[in-house]
Structure formats: C-alpha cells, structure tokens
Amino acid sequence: MPLYYFHLVSPGGREIDEIGSPCLSVDHAMVEAWRAAVEISIELLRGGRPAGDRGFEVCDELGRPVFELAFSDVLGVRAKKPERTSREIRASVAMTLGRNQALRSELAVALANVRTSLATTRALLGS
C-alpha cells in the first residue's frame, strides 16, 4: 500500500510527517485526513485552543503535494461579517441623528415657505 504524508500546517509552522500512513488511494487518504482533522480539532477545542486555523498538506511518496485540507472546511466554519464595535455603533447613531436633524431643518424651512406662500395667496385674494 502506498504511503501518504500528512504534514500539519498551523500558524506556528509546519509539522512534517516523517512516518507516513498507508492508504489505498488518494480518496482513502482524503477520508483519513478528514477523520483525523475532526479528532484533532475536537481535542484542540476541548483544550480551549483554536482549530480552524490549521490544515493538512498531504504528499505522496515522492513528496509531491496531493491535496490540502483546511480544518475550517471540516468544521464548517465560514467567513462571517465582523461584529461592529461600540464606537462604530455610536458613530452610526450620531450620523443618523445628524441626518434627522438636517431633514427637520429642511422641513421647517419648507413649511415656512409654504406658510409664506399661503399668506401671500390670501392677501392677493383679499385685495
């Protein structure tokens, strides 16, 4: 059975697999990588450590890369819009309030203009 080498990549570096594991085919190697990723992730998460930033780089006996597997794919972690900070929320509220204030001012001006027009119209009708 051919050997496949499952190098573990993490933010701390690359842990080389010097032993290798026998697998029938690339598909078999992918299944084994997936199972190991689940198990290693569970252990990391139990220990309060992140797992989604790791992955396997799998090579064949000649050292040729065969496939990569990110643990985030196994865990179903998806990129997510970051939460807004309280400062950003305050800035957004202040901006909305300012826009409302400006609209009110514009409305007041428009209302005054309408009143002026009405008064002018009444004066013309009365004369």
């Binding site: 499952f6 032993i19 290798g20 026998p22 084994e32 190991a36």
Partner: protein, 264 residues
C-alpha cells in the same frame, strides 16, 4: 511450548497439580498466518486458547466496515473463558502477526475442572483481569487525550510482554501497525501517526520494524497516567512482580488514585 502454556496456567493461580492436569489435555500448537481468524463472532466456544507466540486480537466488525479491537492477547496469555461462560463467541479472534496457539478443548477442561474445582476461581481471575484491561481502554477512549491513550497502550503492551519474559529490558516486539493501534484506540490512522511522532519527538519511545523501546518510563507513564497494578492478578500481589516488571524504574505517572476527586 511447554513453558509458555504452563506459564499461562500458573498465572491462573490454581496450583501446580491443576496446572499440570490442564497441560496434559492441551492440544498441540497450531500456526496462524498474520490476520488469520481463529474464531468468529457467534461461534460455539472451542476451548481455552493460550498464545504461545505472537499476538491475538479480539475484534468486533461493524456493518459500516469499521472495526473495533476489544482486547489483545500476548504470548503467555489466555483467551476463551468468556465464550465458555456464555456459550458463544462475542467477538472475532484473529492473529496480529503470525501466531501460534495451543487450545484446551472445552470438554476436557470441564472434566479436569471436576477434579480441580479451583480452576473455576482461576478462570474468574483471568476474566477479572480482562475486565480490568477493558476498563482502562474504556477510560482511555472516553476521557484521555489521543496522546495519553496511545502512550497507555504502549506501556501496557510492554509490561504484558515483560511479564511473559518476551521483553529485553525496555525493548519488546510490537507487532501492531498504525491501523491496528487506531482500531484499538478508536482513533484515525493519521491521528495515531501524529501521536507516535510526538512521543518519539519528546524522546519517550522509539518504534521501528515492529520493535518498541521505551526510552523514558517515568515521562511516558506520566503522559499515559499509567498504573500497572491492573495487570497483576490478585494471586501475584506482593511477590516482587513490580521489580520484575520495571528494571529501569517503575513509572510514577499515575500517582495515588485514592486521593483523586472529580473536578466539577
């Protein structure tokens, strides 16, 4: 052959006469190829099997193709008491490497038992030891890390080999492949591979060409949380077995378990 079978029978703690009587009715050893089945789940019990050379594994094969190894039996150990008690094999027995096995047929065992009733107590002790080993495996699968679990298995196999005189110092034959360790530990092959490399990188063991060498018993015992007392039959307590088992110092990883409390 004689030595190994008699060693196994003496391990039952049934006395010289009963051991010799069982030895007389033991069949000649038969050779099994690596991976060859000795018995299948559901079979009627053939008798008590003594591993003369090599290693047997007891395994449950699932419908989905997965296998779970339930027990290992090294040279000088017996298997079959459970099947005799229950009237059927509860798991499949097969050879790990090429293995030779001698069998005491169930019918003859029964006849000898009539003259030596202490054999029943001996079989009970053998079953209790199997249960104790199974308990340790269960704890490992349920609560230990993969590193600790595999370290525990390496400690256990070495001690069992040493008890049967099959180890040289801290080195012994270790015929299990990565996949077989994985089946015993309930882990993936790749995870076992990483754990073995970690143990090697820490300078605790070397494992090559089916030879296991424990480099640092104390550290390995600590990583494994290993306390070898569960491997000693009650009949052998206090006869200096511990000194025989650990020529380079007993592992102190387990400490005194009586003082331990669960952490809420």
């Amino acid at each position: 052959v004689t030595d190994t079978v008699l060693y196994a029978l003496h391990g039952l703690g049934i006395g010289e006469a009963a051991a010799l009587a069982l030895r007389v009715v033991t069949g000649p050893p038969r050779q099994l190829r690596a991976g060859e089945r000795l018995a299948s789940e559901g079979d009627e019990p053939e008798g008590l099997h003594v591993v003369v050379n090599g290693m047997l594994k007891s395994c449950r094969n699932l419908d989905n193709g997965a296998a779970q190894t339930l027990a290992l039996f090294t040279a000088g150990e017996m298997v079959g008491a459970q099947a005799i008690a229950l009237g059927r094999k509860m798991s499949t027995l097969s050879a790990v490497p090429a293995t030779s096995v001698a069998t005491i047929p169930a019918s003859r065992l029964k006849l000898v038992q009539e003259d030596y009733p202490q054999i029943t107590d001996g079989l009970l002790r053998a079953l209790a030891r199997e249960t104790a080993i199974l308990q340790e495996w269960l704890v490992g699968m349920g609560r230990r890390t993969a590193l600790s679990q595999v370290a525990h298995l390496l400690c256990e196999v070495t001690v069992r080999m040493r008890m049967a005189g099959r180890a040289h110092g801290d080195t012994c034959e270790f015929p299990l492949t990565q996949a077989e360790i994985a089946d015993a530990a309930g882990l993936s092959t790749v995870h076992v591979n990483r754990v073995l490399q970690a143990l090697r990188a820490e300078g605790l063991v070397t494992l090559s060409r089916s030879q296991l060498k424990i480099i640092d018993w104390n550290k390995l015992g600590h990583v494994a949380d290993f306390d070898p007392l569960y491997l000693l039959p009650a009949a052998n307590f206090g006869d200096g077995h511990a000194a025989l088992l650990f020529p380079s110092g007993e592992p102190r990883g387990a400490g005194d378990r009586r003082d331990r409390q669960p952490v809420p």
